[in-house]
């Protein structure tokens, strides 16, 4: 299979204009005759469904939550980048593009990233017009802050709830289209299969989570905006329901999955406190602007933090990276926290934590300034841990937060299955091996509001789509497959719960395919995942029936997919014999312990094709490579020393 990204030829700043001009248009009067299925209602899905509805298409939008407003985009705190240069501090589209390509450690596609930077400015305009209450200066202009170590102020924000406000904007635009009758909304509905007819994506099979009914929906294009797969680690900062099922089942129907091993571990989360723990809570990265990170010099030092004298503390980030100090990028900060904990110098009951100390800045700036800057975060920390960060340092530890990998898409956001489009975190396109802060929201809305609505139209205009209905054999067999899987899960009646298995799986993936990886460890992990998966299909216990609201059954299907995805992640991590971004292979590091990229051999996106069949369930996936070339941003070793 030849992977053609379909990037137009020409200077990078003209590509998107040119591509749009070359697109064929759908006659406005014909748009309502075309049905588009949008799965997921987060920033990408909701903005796409709303915009497609405005354009006049007949849209069906699906989400597993009780309302589209609850998608996990809502939890994003920090902000959204845009190259507005409102501060005249030297920002530009090119600089945002440059920062994003470099931050992604040269594993993203230049043309896509440039377009993202260009569109960033339109997103802010659109959101302001929708009534998103962005922070303002006294003069009434939009306020900005610098974020994630960027040297310009390009981040727009709405208190610590930027994701919430942007999502509500998109949700309201979506509900407007629901009211107009152009979008039909299907909440509490989960996509369980993709239907491919004559090589094109023509529909989906869903399960109504309240009645258990299996239903088919036919359309001219299918759009997946179903988010990332961080929950493969069990403990993550994702919402509990976030899952990989939609993209995974599309993968099994022929869509290639790119760079599954590129996952982002966020350095500032509240550490795990017990076995009952169901999720991890992120503390905004902005805390690293003033907090100092340290651990005791001596392994096993159990004294209270305030009893450890200055001379016996190791401010390891300041020591190792004198010029960036505590503000090194996420992957570097996370890896270093793991390293000091592995040395036995971690703090807290579990030994898996490092201190983030505000004593110095409270002394320097006064408690009021710190309260004004971080009051809500300190309160959140205290609510969860029952410790007062004004008195004692916070304890933090890295946690999985975002997945850069996802279904492979071309410049038009179309997967390797014609008619199947993938947007937002669910695709692999813009962040390479590491995502910069405040750019996830940007990508979701860029894809949904400004790219997909054009490219879907181009596909529909250029393609002869036969009329189909859900009585077609392909729909019936997909429905039967879904029903069979459900019955199988309910019929095992084993001895362990779904969560118990998920927790064990998460631990394997975290230990071997988390912050640092080795070839031997990954081989080990693949074996362990195999064994556990086999046990899952023999011994899982799923109570209840398929005919009503059954949350255990929902989880059981998702965890079954996580098992398979976990294996692909390890295969991908195993094959990539280099360190880049969030993917750190211990065999590949510089003499002073930094990530060592191998551009000679690995400057490509690794896209995997599913090969297993019922008869040969263990057939290895096949690797396809999309070579990455860098004409505008020259690859260099990232250094934060």
């Amino acid at each position: 299979m030849l992977l053609d990204a379909r990037v137009p030829l020409g200077p990078i700043e003209k590509l998107w204009d040119q591509a749009r001009f070359e697109m064929k248009l759908v006659n406005p009067a014909n748009k309502r005759k075309h049905t588009i299925l949008v799965v997921g209602s987060g920033l990408a899905g909701a903005s796409a469904a709303a915009t497609l509805g405005e354009l006049g298409y007949n849209v069906k939008c699906f989400c597993f939550q009780d309302s589209p407003r609850r998608a996990h985009s809502i939890a994003a705190q920090g902000g959204i980048n845009a190259a507005k240069n409102y501060h005249g501090d030297g920002d530009s589209v090119f600089r945002l593009f440059y920062d994003t390509v470099k931050g992604g450690d040269f594993r993203s596609r230049e043309a896509n990233v440039y377009r993202l930077a260009q569109i960033s400015v339109n997103i802010i305009d659109q959101c302001v017009a929708q009534g998103v209450p962005f922070a303002r200066e006294y003069g009434g202009t939009l306020a900005n802050r610098s974020f994630g170590g960027a040297q310009v102020s390009r981040t727009f924000y709405a208190r610590g709830q930027t994701g919430q406000q942007l999502l509500l904007g998109a949700y309201q635009a979506l509900e407007r289209q629901v009211h107009e009758g152009r979008v039909s909304m299907f909440p509490r509905t989960e996509m369980l299969d993709l239907v491919v007819i004559d090589g094109r994506a023509r529909g989906i099979v869903t399960r109504n989570l309240v009645t258990g009914q299996i239903e088919s929906h036919a359309g001219d294009a299918v759009v997946l905006g179903t988010g990332g797969y961080g929950n493969v680690y069990y403990l993550s900062t994702n919402a509990k329901g976030s899952n990989c099922t939609a993209i995974w089942r599309a993968y099994k129907r022929g869509a290639l999955f790119a760079n599954p091993c590129f996952t982002q571990i966020h350095p500032t989360c509240i550490p795990v406190s017990g076995d009952y723990q169901s999720k991890l809570t992120l503390m905004s990265e902005s805390l690293r602007n003033d907090g100092r990170i340290w651990v005791p010099m001596k392994a096993g030092d159990k004294r209270a933090p305030r009893q450890i004298p200055e001379t016996e503390r190791d401010y390891y980030l300041e020591r190792r990276y004198p010029s960036f100090g505590n503000l090194v990028p996420r992957d570097v900060a996370s890896r270093n926290a793991k390293a000091v904990c592995d040395e036995g110098r971690g703090v807290g009951k579990t030994g898996l934590g490092v201190y983030l100390d505000f004593a110095d800045c409270i002394q320097r700036l006064g408690v009021d300034v710190i309260r004004e800057r971080y009051g809500n975060l300190f309160e959140m920390y205290q609510r969860i841990t029952d410790e007062d960060p004004y008195q004692a340092p916070m304890r933090i530890y890295p946690a999985i937060h975002y997945t850069m990998g996802g279904l492979w898409v071309d410049y038009y956001l179309m997967s390797t299955i014609p008619g199947l489009f993938v947007i937002g975190e669910a695709n692999f396109s813009d962040h390479g091996a590491n995502r910069l802060g405040a750019s996830a929201l940007m990508q979701g809305l860029s894809d949904g509001y400004f790219i997909l609505p054009y490219t879907v139209g181009d596909y529909i205009a250029k393609t002869k789509l036969e009329t189909i209905d859900t009585g077609a054999a392909e729909f019936l067999s997909a429905e039967a497959g879904v029903a069979e899987l459900t019955e199988k899960l309910l019929g095992i009646r084993g001895r362990q719960t779904v969560d118990a298995f998920h927790r064990q799986l998460g631990k394997i993936v975290w230990d071997y395919c988390g912050m640092s990886r080795t070839g031997a460890g990954l081989d080990e992990a693949i074996g362990e995942i195999h064994r556990l998966r086999e046990q899952y299909w023999r011994d899982v216990k799923v109570p209840g029936s398929a005919e009503d609201l059954n949350q255990s059954l929902e989880k059981a299907g998702r965890v079954a997919d996580f098992f398979e995805l976990a294996e692909l992640m390890c295969i991908d991590a195993r094959h990539r014999e280099e360190s880049c971004g969030g993917h750190f292979r211990e065999e590949h590091q510089t003499p002073d312990g930094e990530a060592q990229r191998n551009d000679e051999d690995f400057s490509y996106a690794a896209a995997w094709e599913y090969k297993a069949t019922e008869r040969a369930p263990d057939l290895h996936p096949v690797l396809h490579k999309e070579p990455l070339t860098f004409e505008y941003v020259h690859p260099s070793q990232r250094s934060y020393k």
């Binding site: 305009d125 009434g140 509900e175 949350q551």
Partner: protein, 248 residues
């Protein structure tokens, strides 16, 4: 610590429900209310019983999925806290907790603690937005917004749509939810052109859904996990009255 739970169990919308008693031993005080239910459910599954259905997703207090009554108080005793962030250390060893779903005609029970809040989506769909098609917006700084108004708009926009306000209200009114959206958009210059229509349409939908009227009791604001103030209702009433006057 040890806790006694009395949980509303109801198999489906039409089935009768009842309170069922459970004992939770070895409760870790750092657990959240939902993690306590997780542990309880794991035990129920292994015993061959059906786990308690409850709604949840982000577990950090922002998605608005979770929520039920604890001893008669929506989201439990801690102010400004959803049940997913309510830790067990706020209860006493041996305490009895009664967990019930939101009770309102417009929020029918689906199963156990899960209710259908689709009515909230329909109130937003009625007019809870600014009509601005994608791509038609001017530069973000073309219209200046007074900072105080932007901050007040943000206060109202913080609503997570959990439904605690309705559950706490003796009239099961959706006034705080509806008012919060009307206040948010009405405080911004971008929201002015549709201000009258918005108030009329949203209030009409709220009535059609079977929510009660507002009699200014204030229980809603007292339990709101995002501390939306009653002022939102006053803003809504002003917009509704003046819009009704204009269109008389």
């Amino acid at each position: 610590m040890r806790l006694i739970l009395h949980v509303w169990r109801q198999r489906g919308a039409k089935a009768p429900g009842k309170m069922t008693r459970y004992e939770a031993a070895d409760v870790n005080p750092d657990m959240s209310m939902l993690e306590l239910l997780d542990v309880l459910n794991e035990g129920l599954i292994l015993k061959g019983e059906e786990p308690i259905a409850f709604e949840h997703d982000c577990r950090e207090g922002i998605c608005g999925s979770c929520g039920f009554m604890i001893n008669g108080i929506a989201h439990g005793p801690l102010p400004a806290t959803t049940v997913c962030q309510l830790s067990m250390r706020h209860f006493k060893d041996g305490q009895e907790l009664h967990l019930e779903p939101w009770r309102a005609k417009a929020f029918p029970v689906i199963k156990d603690l899960v209710v259908d809040r689709g009515a909230f989506d329909r109130i937003i769909a009625a007019a809870g937005y600014i009509s601005v098609p994608t791509g038609s917006a001017p530069d973000g700084n073309t219209i200046l917004v007074n900072k105080e108004n932007a901050d007040r708009a943000m206060d109202a926009a913080a609503c997570i749509g959990c439904g605690a306000c309705v559950a706490a209200c003796p009239n099961a009114s959706a006034a705080l939810f509806t008012g919060a959206k009307i206040a948010h958009l009405g405080l911004l210059p971008q929201g002015q052109p549709e201000r009258s229509r918005r108030a009329l349409s949203m209030v009409r939908q709220w009535n059609a859904e079977g929510f009660g009227s507002c009699t200014n009791i204030g229980e809603c604001a007292a339990v709101c996990p995002k501390e939306i103030a009653l002022e939102a209702i006053a803003r809504m009433n002003r917009d509704f009255i003046s819009a009704s006057w204009e269109r008389r």
